[in-house]
């Protein structure tokens, strides 16, 4: 008798989920990405508890901290309200009415997404006031927007596309019979919309709203240029003289971000929005706008003019103005610095995204909730406010440097690898999206077919799945690359000496009021943003043609 002892036999009763999770190699990249964010965040606690405890407590609990908390939450609430007030009507006009140019507008209204907030701040700051573009061009002095108003406008303009997108999708998916049923039950058109359709938009509002709030919380460029003291500004300001205080502010930022994420989950829990019955599958009759149509069209075009046209116009105008001469920064070195960070980021983030997207799409039969949770873990770097993450990495680098190199020397602190590490984890979520979509379109039987034809696991992946993933991988890498070129808060905190990126220069020079000097950087970043939009649209288009 041959040795037939049951080496491969596994018990019939499935083991507990966490046991099944541990040895599975497929989950390792997701774990790495999640822990890569969470572990450095622990060093914030280390930094927060170093130094004189009582003194730190006193600085943390002073009234100014609470004022900043109030200002941050207030700004987030105001931006959320303003973006909703813009995005919901805009989405409704584009999806449900007979508005002219609504197909074109549906695309155009997403464009502001590509213009970074600090560029909008540059535009708003440099157009108004006595020395602003409008005063110099026309003699008419626009008010110089600063502080709360300036922050609110800049953040609203670049964040409303996120809500617009989710509202647009949700409105398109709404079953028109809901509205018709409400009308048949005696509701007027407005009440029918409010009673039957508005509640259905709740998941869209919460999903988009969470993104907006997290962006406001994580924003540094706008509020610092507008000189409105929120968490980010206070953190940056106290970085050098009170590092423990800065760590506590970072922890507060994290707590707030976590609170909002939990809030979204809680508000969605126990509610079901999936249709009770298959819908009619037809489009509702578009609402006739009548004479109001042209005015509403003008309003939307006006919004676009401010959100996209203004940054373009101001940066072009200032680019042709004489510079003062005492600051002279060439474009070459900053562009090289940005490239040196962004190219490795794009490659590494995409490489990491492939196995995570694979895990998310090809989830194991029983481990579905587990792999979903793991995929969320990979989004930790996206949800963590940039400055808080940067500070955590700085704290970790300093601690590790103290262990491994002699005093006064640095190895990790302000090193390029650390910056790239931060960028990769921050932009990982963006890389997962297109790769994930590409994976969803690949029949899992293809790899199995390759296996039965004699190819090993690796060969089957390389010869079948990888070629089919190529468009998705290219889109992911391009998206991450362009986002990394525009990234500001992480660059401000983590850039090594001599690595002043394009975004940093624009922010720095705008902060000094040197608009003519800042303009070339703004133009370059606008070109990059246009490339970003082109990639998004192309990826979207290739998906559409593929599914046909």
């Amino acid at each position: 008798m041959k040795s037939a002892f049951c080496r491969t036999a596994t018990p019939l009763r499935p083991p507990a989920p966490w046991i099944r999770l541990l040895p599975d190699r497929a989950t390792l990249p997701a774990w790495a990405a999640g822990l890569g964010v969470l572990v450095p965040l622990c060093f914030l606690l280390v930094a927060g508890f170093t130094g004189d405890g009582a003194a730190v407590r006193e600085t943390v609990l002073r009234p100014r901290t609470f004022a900043v908390i109030g200002r941050t939450l207030g700004l987030a609430a105001a931006v959320l309200a303003a973006t909703t007030a813009l995005a919901l009507p805009a989405a409704f006009l584009v999806v449900r009415t007979d508005l002219r140019l609504r197909r074109l507008l549906s695309v155009l209204l997403v464009l502001p997404l590509a213009v970074p907030g600090y560029l909008l701040a540059f535009a708003l700051l440099s157009v108004g006031g006595r020395y602003g573009a409008s005063a110099r061009l026309t003699g008419f002095e626009l008010p110089r927007l600063q502080g709360f108003t300036g922050s609110l406008i800049a953040l609203t303009l670049y964040n409303f596309p996120y809500l617009f997108l989710t509202f647009r999708t949700a409105l398109r998916r709404l079953d028109p019979t809901l509205h018709e049923a409400a009308r048949a039950l005696g509701h007027g058109p407005w009440r029918a919309f409010r009673a039957a359709e508005l509640p259905q938009l709740r998941p869209a509002f919460l999903a988009g709203g969470l993104i907006v709030v997290l962006h406001v919380l994580g924003d540094f460029g706008v509020v610092s240029l507008m000189r409105y003291e929120t968490f980010s500004v206070l953190l940056y300001g106290s970085l050098s003289f009170a590092p423990a205080y800065a760590a506590w502010i970072a922890l507060m930022m994290l707590g707030t971000a976590g609170g909002f994420i939990v809030l979204e989950v809680v508000l969605l829990r126990g509610r079901r929005f999936d249709p009770a019955a298959p819908g009619a599958g037809r489009l509702p009759r578009p609402v006739a706008l009548g004479p109001a149509g042209p005015f509403l069209l003008l309003a939307l075009l006006g919004l676009l003019a401010v959100a996209v046209g203004l940054p373009l116009a101001t940066s072009t105008y200032w680019a042709f103005q004489p510079v003062l001469g005492f600051v002279n920064r060439g474009l070459t070195d900053p562009a090289l610095a940005s490239l040196t960070v962004s190219l490795p980021t794009a490659v590494l983030a995409t490489v990491l995204a492939v196995p995570i997207a694979r895990l998310a799409v090809r989830r194991r039969r029983a481990g579905a909730s587990v792999s979903q949770g793991l995929e969320r873990l990979a989004y930790a770097g996206y949800a963590t406010p940039g400055l808080a993450f940067g500070l955590a990495l700085t704290a970790m680098a300093l601690t590790l440097d103290r262990l491994f190199v002699s005093a006064g020397q640095t190895l990790l602190y302000q090193s390029l690898p650390l910056m790239i590490y931060a960028y990769v984890l921050h932009f990982l979520a963006e890389a997962i999206g297109p790769v994930r979509t590409a994976f969803q379109q690949i029949n899992p039987r293809l790899e199995e077919a390759a296996r039965t034809l004699g190819r090993g696991r690796v060969a089957a992946f390389c010869r079948v799945t990888l070629p089919l993933l190529r468009p998705g991988i290219a889109a992911s890498a391009a998206l991450v690359f362009l986002s990394a070129m525009k990234e500001l808060p992480l660059a401000v905190l983590l850039r090594p000496a001599g690595y002043d990126t394009l975004a940093f220069n624009l922010w720095d020079l705008t902060g000094e009021g040197l608009y003519a000097e800042a303009a070339p950087f703004a133009l370059v970043i606008l070109v990059l943003s246009a490339g970003f939009v082109a990639v998004v649209l192309l990826a979207d288009k290739s998906n559409i043609t593929k599914t046909k």
Binding site: L12, N443, L446, A449
Partner: protein, 367 residues
């Protein structure tokens, strides 16, 4: 915790291409195994149809044989090579089995020829030209010669199916696993392709396991059918034999329409609502009988026992024959006759079995 059954690997039978024994496979999180203690063999030149309702474990069985799913117990041998036993698990690429998937899984980024050449390595032919010739030969064998420069998306469903077949055959396998290969084709095309497959098997002597839920497909193409329900193998045999002598009520109804009668057996006859019925084997006590519609006929002999009178409640004319539904003590029976036997709706008639009824095991699922 059930332990792996400790027993020696079965003897190699020269005629058997593929042999599986005591195969069991459970998905994590499910209490009932998807495949439960399944044993069967395929001989050279034989088509074995795994037949059963959807979810009965037939595709899982196929995937376990191919090594795509890991059966937690059991023995699988391909030719003389052990693919799985208690201490071995060969990955799919080392089993040398040809698989045709339900949706064919043709590689969309490769052309027809490259698809077929995919499984060919230096081991099959040292030069690229040699591999191309092998692939062309495989395409010729399925009747697709001359299509090798086309993209797979440009092919019709039937052509795609044949490309998948050629791709599975090209590496020279002697066992083919087919997962519902005809299900996504229209009825007209199916007949021809089934015939092609049968001819191919007869010509090459490969062994085929064909998974299907279509009883007509299984019975028309297979040399043997194996009927599965809930992961259990119920009966194996030639289609005619299984149809005539089903082991259980489920097998009888799954393979065709039948009348199930409860009766009281005494030797080779049983007392049923239809009267005394001849049995196919000796039995005693309460039994369940299967009587096919074509084995019942109307009896116009008025002198016989009146107890078994039935009323005609429906009549379906089908051209070459007629199907009647008749009512007997609250049970609806089906009678199939040639067009000659005439009865009208509402008529009271008597039924007479024209063939012995088959004693079957009662495995009807209680709802």
């Amino acid at each position: 915790m059930p332990l792996s059954i400790l027993q020696p690997d079965p003897e190699v039978e020269p005629d058997h291409r593929l042999c599986i024994e005591h195969l069991s496979c459970a998905y994590p999180g499910q209490t009932a195994p998807a495949v439960n203690d399944l044993s069967l063999c395929v001989a050279a030149g034989e088509i074995l149809a795994l037949l059963g309702p959807s979810g009965c474990g037939k595709t899982t069985t196929l995937r376990c044989i191919a090594g795509l799913e890991r059966a937690h117990l059991g023995f699988i041998r391909h030719g003389e090579q052990v693919c799985q036993n208690a201490s071995t698990f060969l990955p799919p690429e080392r089993r040398g089995l040809g698989v045709v998937f339900q949706d064919y899984a043709l590689f969309p980024h490769l052309g027809v020829l490259d698809n077929v050449r995919f499984g060919l390595t230096r081991h099959h032919a040292p030069t690229r030209r040699g591999r191309t010739d092998l692939a062309r030969a495989a395409l010729d064998r399925v009747g697709l010669g001359g299509l090798d420069t086309r993209r797979v998306q440009e092919l019709s469903g039937g052509q795609q199916q044949r490309v998948a077949l050629a791709r599975a055959l090209a590496p020279g396998t002697d066992v083919l696993l087919l997962d519902e290969p005809f299900s996504s084709l229209d009825a007209g095309l199916r007949g021809g392709l089934r015939q092609n497959l049968r001819e191919l098997v007869d010509a090459t002597g490969i062994g085929v396991i064909l998974v299907t839920h279509d009883r007509e497909e299984a019975m028309s193409i297979a040399h043997r059918v194996a009927l599965l329900r809930s992961g259990n193998l119920l009966q194996t045999g030639r289609p005619e034999a299984v149809y005539r002598r089903p082991r259980s009520a489920f097998v009888a109804t799954f393979l065709g329409e039948t009348n199930l009668l409860e009766g009281d057996a005494a030797g080779d006859v049983a007392n049923t609502p239809l009267g005394m019925v001849e049995l196919d084997r000796d039995a005693h006590g309460p039994v369940l009988l299967s009587l096919r519609p074509e084995h019942v006929a109307f009896d116009f002999d008025v002198s016989a026992d009146l107890r078994s009178t039935v009323r005609v409640i429906a009549r379906e004319f089908k051209g070459h024959d007629l199907t009647y539904r008749v009512r007997l003590h609250g049970q609806t029976l089906t009678v199939q006759t040639d067009a000659g036997a005439l009865a009208r709706l509402g008529d009271r008639v008597r039924l007479r079995p024209v063939a012995p009824a088959c004693v079957v095991e009662d495995d009807r699922q209680t709802p």
